[in-house]
């Protein structure tokens, strides 16, 4: 029985094989069909067999589907509304000047990172804990301009009235030379304008030597803190007299004109004697130089007993060798007989 079963299975398998092969052949590409004409073209070298095969495949490959395109909303005119670098948004202005600053460092625009902000704030806090004069820093961007309608001094006078004296600095990140210094009214009365200008300028000088904007702010704050110490002294004692010297431009033009006129009249009066003196001096110099050039020098002649039978001369001077640059004159100062030199 088992033998019969094996025989039946084998027979069925053999019968099924052609069917499976046909099915597989249907799945694959059909082989190309060659005509007599194709054979003739190949023989003439007009086409290659491989070209025909691959072209067939290429023709049959479908082009890749186009990529999906996202449908973006069309940009309206309001999306192009960029804030100019000089402008400060109204909401930020309100945060700057709408109230008395809650922190020593005011940066509503988040121009500094959180860490940078914390570091600078801790320094300002330390300063205020150590000094009787508070130190506030308002941070703005490099090109920003505070609107003219904001009366900064009156605002600060209002905010800091009755409180501790304070120094408020408007600091522009990356442009320390634009910094502005404001003092509370009572401090303003004690500290002269000259001292204020010096404090600001020295702080700017300290800032500009740094390259990074945040480091510049550091340098500025440290120097200003030092200068505030002196302001504090002045505040305790009285007034610092302005020490700035008047610039040349400040000199009265009338005075200058009067001086010039006086000098001119003096010169006109003494013109002749001056020219005479100059002439005499020049002539004297020229004459002196000519005389010196023509001057002759004489020597007293003494009776000298002849030496070594020489009737005219026996004065032996130095001898120097210039055979080698390695033997400078200093090495030849000690004079030796010529027979030794020759050796």
């Amino acid at each position: 029985m088992s033998g019969l079963r094996k025989f039946l299975c084998f027979t069925l398998t053999l019968l099924a094989l052609p069917l499976i092969a046909a099915e597989e052949a249907e799945k694959h590409d059909p082989l190309p069909q060659w005509s007599e004409e194709d054979a003739a073209r190949v023989m003439r070298g007009e086409c290659l067999i491989s070209d025909a095969l691959f072209r067939l495949q290429e023709e049959e490959t479908e082009p890749p589907p186009p990529p999906d395109v996202l449908d973006l909303p069309e940009l309206g005119p309001e999306s192009l509304n960029v804030v100019p670098p000089t402008e400060i948004l109204d909401e930020d202005l309100a945060k700057y000047f709408g109230q008395k600053p809650k922190s020593y460092l005011v940066d509503p625009q988040k121009l500094m990172s959180r860490q940078e902000f914390r570091d600078r704030l801790s320094f300002l806090k330390y300063h205020s804990s150590d000094s009787n004069v508070d130190f506030y820093v308002y941070v703005f961007d490099e090109q920003q301009i505070i609107p003219a309608n904001i009366q900064v001094d009156s605002l600060f006078a209002q905010y800091f009235e009755g409180g501790r004296p304070a120094v408020i600095v408007f600091y522009y990140m990356g442009a320390p030379d634009r910094s502005e210094l404001h003092l509370t009214p009572e401090l303003m009365r004690s500290v002269g304008e000259g001292e204020r200008m010096r404090a600001l300028q020295s702080s700017i000088n300290q800032a500009v030597v740094k390259s990074q904007a945040v480091d510049q702010l550091d340098g500025f704050c440290v120097q200003m803190s030092i200068r505030i110490y002196w302001m504090e002294k002045a505040f305790a004692s009285g007034v610092i007299a302005p020490l700035i010297k008047p610039e040349k431009a400040d000199i009265n033009e009338h005075e200058q004109a009067a001086r010039v006129a006086a000098a001119t009249s003096w010169f006109k009066e003494w013109q002749l004697p001056i020219y005479l003196m100059l002439g005499v001096t020049i002539v004297g110099i020229i004459t002196g130089s000519i005389r010196r050039a023509r001057q002759k020098f004489y020597f007293t002649e003494y009776e000298i007993a002849p030496r070594m039978s020489g009737s005219h001369a026996a004065g032996v001077g130095a001898v120097i060798s210039y055979a080698s640059a390695k033997i400078p004159p200093t090495m030849q100062r000690e004079q030796v007989p010529d027979y030794l030199r020759r050796m």
């Binding site: 004489y298 070594m308 039978s309 009737s311 004065g315 120097i320 020759r342």
Partner: protein, 225 residues
């Protein structure tokens, strides 16, 4: 004062070197006993070009005008091994007749620069007139100024530099001699024995007050007489 051969110090008026016995007759035996006719610039070795020679000649003439008593001469030559610069300079200044030098300037007022082209050495010799005014250091200073030029093979420039330095030194010495002639005289004139005896007898004068005392004593003695 030194001997031209052994470069040892010799006494004033020594007829021969007490150390080596050198004298003019020995130099005569070496270089000749007859007088030789030379010019202030005798480029026997052909060291300089024509233009260079004229430059040096002009400088020599300027020197002569500035110092009317003196003259400066240059001799370049190739010397034998046995010969030497100092001896030749000594001999030439005594035996040479400088034909382009005025008669009122004797050889005693001459300064001679001798250059040995083969041995590449140079030396200065000078006459008796300059004994009080020039010494070995002065001449060494002059030669040192010329040294770098000679190293660069520019003999004319070296000589010009030497002359410039020599003029400076001589001007200074001339002015000094006018202000303080005694200090120069002392260099060449031996001290008088009579003066020495007087000084020994009178005793040393220590200070001004003693001088004053001696003077007042002499006056009072005369008054008492």
């Amino acid at each position: 004062m030194k001997c031209p051969r052994c470069v040892q110090k010799i006494h004033r008026g020594a007829e021969a070197c007490p150390h080596c016995g050198f004298c003019l007759s020995i130099a005569d035996a070496e270089f000749g006993s007859v007088e030789v006719i030379v010019r202030t610039l005798t480029d026997a070795a052909g060291l300089m070009r024509k233009a260079e020679r004229s430059l040096v000649q002009e400088a020599i003439e300027r020197f002569s005008k500035r110092f009317p008593q003196l003259f400066f001469a240059v001799y370049t030559g190739v010397f034998r091994e046995s010969a030497c610069l100092r001896q030749f300079g000594f001999w030439l200044l005594n035996r040479g007749a400088f034909e382009d030098v005025a008669l009122h300037r004797p050889n005693a007022a001459g300064i001679l620069l001798v250059m040995d082209v083969e041995g590449k050495a140079a030396g200065i010799t000078y006459g008796y007139l300059l004994d009080p005014y020039l010494d070995e250091d002065d001449t060494f200073q002059c030669l040192s100024k010329a040294h770098p030029h000679w190293l660069d093979r520019r003999p004319d420039q070296g000589i010009l530099a030497l002359l410039k330095t020599l003029e400076k030194i001589l001007k200074k010495k001339s002015r000094g001699a006018r202000k303080d002639p005694k200090s120069f005289k002392r260099k060449v004139t031996p001290p008088q024995i009579g003066d020495l005896v007087k000084r020994v007898r009178s005793g040393p004068v220590k200070n001004a007050s003693q001088k004053y005392d001696a003077a007042t004593l002499a006056v009072s003695k005369e008054e008492s007489k």
